[in-house]
């Protein structure tokens, strides 16, 4: 069976690519610290020596649209082109092409349906920055095949938070029951408190630092029960109008497991949002080198 080599949860900040590659007067003052934190985070994936990446993210009205909106969707294709015109325009993101792992995608679809997750699928999916940002930060050589898993955190009505946790648990079981000798990392990205297009956007910090502090504690300690007790579709409006992206972190907590303490935890307080990075090693920390905890 396949081995779950690492579970990684991260914010996806579309400005990282531009900030990290800028030079001279264009380079923002926070870029060096940000790059250092990302490079340490990247090492946690490199050390796990993955062969395949399951990438959990959420399309931002790029390909998926309100005339036919899936709640959870698996991409099954030999290749995935990536990034859209408006992401190039606003964030300077490059066009990319990633290989797909169709055998694992087929397994997730079949096994997921049999576990009562009515997953949608796409055989021609162009992926957006919710998946390419973590490729850029964690695996910039973009050399590993992926299985994209999209969730709807964006276009209400949304699934309940507990459904994200349940899908995360199922993804773990399905990866670990995949008949393969491959090492799989599951990487998911979302947001802490975030406001986009509302009066609280682009402040000095994220719109709700207290929510962010609690969220990091829930994730780092694997406190799924505590998180589910406080978080609802209604409550997520309060920290910021785009905070439903936190449910992708809850999905990743489901992958990591109840009570699973993260082996790597890091944060960075940026203008308008807090960055947060977590890595778990379900089968123990890889022996080579040291991982900051």
């Amino acid at each position: 069976m396949a081995e779950l080599a690492a579970v990684i949860a991260s914010t996806h900040h579309p400005f990282y690519y531009r900030a990290s590659t800028a030079t001279g007067a264009d380079r923002p003052p926070f870029a060096d610290e940000w790059v250092a934190k990302i490079e340490a985070f990247r090492e946690t994936l490199t050390r796990a020596e993955p062969d395949v990446l399951v990438m959990v993210g959420s399309d931002h009205f790029h390909q998926l649209w309100l005339d036919n909106m899936p709640q959870f969707l698996v991409g099954k294709a030999p290749f995935f082109d990536a990034n859209f015109h408006n992401e190039e325009r606003e964030f300077g993101l490059p066009k990319m092409t990633l290989r797909g792992e169709e055998d694992l995608a087929a397994h997730l679809l079949r096994d997921g349906l049999d576990r009562d997750f009515d997953l949608a699928f796409s055989n021609e999916l162009r992926i957006d920055h919710s998946i390419t940002c973590p490729i850029i930060t964690l695996r910039p050589q973009a050399d590993l095949p992926i299985v994209p898993v999209y969730t709807n955190i964006f276009a209400p009505p949304l699934p309940q938070p507990k459904r994200f946790v349940q899908l995360g648990r199922a993804i773990r079981e399905m990866v670990e029951s995949w008949e393969s000798d491959k090492r799989v990392a599951v990487i998911g990205t979302g947001h802490l408190s975030l406001e986009l297009g509302g009066p609280r956007q682009f402040g000095e910090h994220g719109p709700d630092p207290e929510f962010d502090r609690k969220a990091v504690e829930w994730i780092a300690s694997g406190d799924i029960e505590g998180c589910l007790a406080e978080v609802s579709l209604e409550s997520l409006h309060h920290p910021g109008n785009a905070t439903h992206g936190f449910m992708d972190f809850m999905l990743m907590m489901g992958v990591a497991g109840e009570g699973a303490k993260a082996d790597h935890v890091d944060t960075l307080d940026l203008f308008h949002t807090m960055e947060a990075y977590f890595t778990w090693y379900p089968n123990g920390v890889p022996s080579t080198g040291g991982v900051s905890a």
């Binding site: 009205f61 325009r89 509302g198 956007q201």
Partner: protein
Amino acid sequence: MSKYLLDKFLFTVDRDPELTERYREDPAGTVTWWEAEMANTVLNCIPAEKTTWLAFTDEERRALAEHDHVALFEMGAHPFLTLTLFIALFERDHGPMEYQRAYGKAMEHISMPYPDIAT
């Protein structure tokens, strides 16, 4: 109320660079043309298989024609779509982050709960 159609306008104009420029230079003309020619196109169907019933209200038409992002927010247009398109329209006329901050400040009178964006 046709929140879906507002979102469809923002979505289709934002993703097409020629339409984005056209909406910046001639907002009222673009809204009139779009409602007549594009509003009822089903994006995944051939042109002949059009929808027969989608139309803006007068206030929706006005808000789009006047680039009124505050009114769009108050009507429940999806804030991500509005923000992304309006950054494309107007960020170029301002210093770094200046437009984004002004965009938020123009809405500072709006309190929780925000208008429902469900379509």
